[in-house]
Symmetry: C2
Subunit: 84 residues, 2 copies
Amino acid sequence: MDTIVIIGYIAGTLTTISFIPQVVRAWKLKETRDLSLAMLILFAAGILLWTCYGFWTESLPIIAANVITFILILVLLGLKIRYK
Amino acid sequence: MDTIVIIGYIAGTLTTISFIPQVVRAWKLKETRDLSLAMLILFAAGILLWTCYGFWTESLPIIAANVITFILILVLLGLKIRYK
């Protein structure tokens, strides 16, 4: 595997798993007041487009990272709406 | 300009500017309790690698988006450390 593809996978893994501690924190604290709703909505929209970009450019690291990130952001959005 | 480059720029603009309302919120509330420090650190590390990926693949949307995002995440990290 090319070095750059490996770097892409590590980058995607880091930015993707970074949202796991955020989901856990929101879940545990049952508080999301300090999370910006605008941030979550804009970020989700951007991640959807990054996924398109990944498919178009056939970049598997970009596709994989963004699909999982999108799911985590949807969970955060749900928690934000539930625990205002 | 290719359609896909435009989509990449819109995607990058959305995921990048999404952190502006988050910075504003942390700044105004002077509270970052609900923000996960682990999220910010992992995300910053990932964004640095995405920037490398962008340079290597000569993808200007990826470079531009990630450099600005990195700066905004550093500001958020600063606010997180200041307002625990």
